[in-house]
Amino acid sequence: MMRLALREMRRAKLRFGFLSGAVGLLVFLILFQQTLLGTLLGYFTGALENQSGEVVVYNEEARQNLSGSLVSFDQIEAIAEVEGVAEVGPLGQGTFTVVAGGEEQEAAVWGYQLDGPGEPTTLVEGRLPEADREAVASSIDAAAGFDIGDEVAVAGTDVTITVVGLASDIRFSVQPVLFVTYETWETTAEAVNPDAPLFLPSAALVHTVDGVDAVDLATLITREVDGVEALDRAAAVDSLPGVEAVSQSFALILLLAFIVVTLVVGFFFLIITVQKLPALGLLKALGQSTSSLVLSVSLQVLTVCVGGVVIGALLLVGAGQASGDSFPISADPGLIVTTGSIVVGLALLASIGSLRRVARLDATTVVGRQNLGGLE
């Protein structure tokens, strides 16, 4: 019975408010961790995740690691022949010391074939490169000398690159990124290391024919082209160094937080249910149906949890507003809804014990017992 549940909560505002607050803090913790993980992983993998090639082809010995991979132009030609490949292009990737905003820093340079696979997909300002020595940089690094119009000099060379566009979430290995033409990358690599005999692409990027599944195509390329290993983009992102370790440690903390929420809600409702069993027994003796008593307790669990989720979401929004540009936190509504539903589901699961006690309550306990319905 709705009115009964609400009346009790009104009489014990502090108690229920406290629990809602505790659930709210835990929900905030969970939301914050997930947001943090997303942002952090984005710093590691953004460039690969937000480029247009659906399949990434490495040298088979590179163990799915860009920095250890070299793919020959013969191999790229062979990839182009595989059925389901619409377009293939080289990706030249390397970390260079650059001077940006007057300071020396490390930046990852990504060279791709203009209009081919590998262009950044999350452009937020400016335009894509149209000529050599033009670049799209990660928007988060704009203030660090990578804003539109800024000139970035490659240290120890006479190569300078002009930023013409900004894209979100395209950092790589927590470094600023410059998406440039393949030729610019080649020029840069040569200028830094003039004695090297030749420069090969780090990987090949592939556009699939419409309707072809990237996972299937990756398998096909690996099988048909000698000396390469192809992965679909999502798998390539997941297998980047560090991603698994970071994800796993976060998953563990997340799991713990979910367990704590479940236990807190479960114990709380068990305690208050046991405390008021005499009162509930009295109501049953007076003619209150078992189902309405069970419903009443479920309604309280629901109210407390939804309240907690709202508190947690508000805290996340607050944290988002307080967070700086250097480490932005955004409140993703989808994440809040999923996390909220899981918390509510777990809480209901955790209160099954309490609900069962209410369901099994014997109305006859009220007769002859010298008490005041749980008053004393």
Partner: protein, 223 residues
């Protein structure tokens, strides 16, 4: 039609491997506006009889007819509905829901059934006034004295206009003067509504408030 007709009702409790005979072939008929005092020493079976009459316990044997309806064969769900609609209880010790105010303790039984909300509120206010609790309606049970709680429980028992009111030792926790006041209140309220009632007591000084008194000892009713 009698309000209550119990015929050859037996009730045994099993505790461990011993059986306690709490009620032994009890037969009792209660007129539809009769007030009966049930008198007997502690442990004689008074509460057991009341619980069976009110559909809170099922008898081991015998028949119980309340307002023409045989209740000894009803299932748990039907008994719950029966208690809600037909019976008004005041349990042995004052039993109020601690997180509801005096007025809400009355309203809660009306809200269990589908009764008109406005009518229920008026009825609760009238009862509270008659029980001299007009200004205590908003108080929680722990803000009320023992006598006041007892009166709230009586009001609640009358709230759903029951055909049968069952009151278990209403004066045992009160001093003599307060006890007499409460007995007078109960009998006035019950009489003015032409409702049948059983009032359990072990105090023979209280029996003159009733139309008739029956004695019970060791589970056996004396005529």
């Amino acid at each position: 039609m009698p309000a209550l007709e119990m015929t050859d009702v037996r009730k045994t409790y099993r505790s461990g491997d011993t059986e306690v005979m709490a009620l032994d072939r009890a037969s009792l008929t209660l007129g539809d506006d009769e007030i009966l005092a049930l008198v007997g020493p502690s442990g004689s079976g008074k509460t057991t009889l009341l619980s069976i009459a009110g559909g809170l316990l099922t008898p081991s044997d015998g028949s119980v007819v309340v307002g023409g309806e045989e209740i000894s064969s009803l299932d748990a769900k039907a008994l719950t509905r029966f208690r809600r609609d037909k019976v008004g209880f005041v349990f042995q010790s004052v039993n109020l829901v601690p997180f509801l105010t005096a007025r809400e303790n009355l309203l809660v039984v009306a809200e269990m059934g589908r009764r008109d909300a406005k009518e229920s509120r008026q009825r609760a206010d009238t009862l509270l006034d008659e029980l001299d609790l007009g200004d205590r309606g908003g108080n929680l049970p722990n803000q009320l004295s023992g006598g006041e709680r007892q009166r709230v429980a009586i009001g609640r028992a009358l709230m759903n206009e029951p055909a049968l009111v069952l009151i278990d030792e209403p004066t045992s926790a009160l001093d003599t003067k307060l006890g007499e006041q409460v007995m007078e209140l109960i009998t006035n309220e019950v009489k003015s509504r032409s409702t049948a009632a059983i009032i359990v007591t072990h105090d023979t000084r209280m029996t003159h408030y009733a139309d008739r008194s029956v004695e019970i000892s060791d589970g056996v009713l004396a005529a």
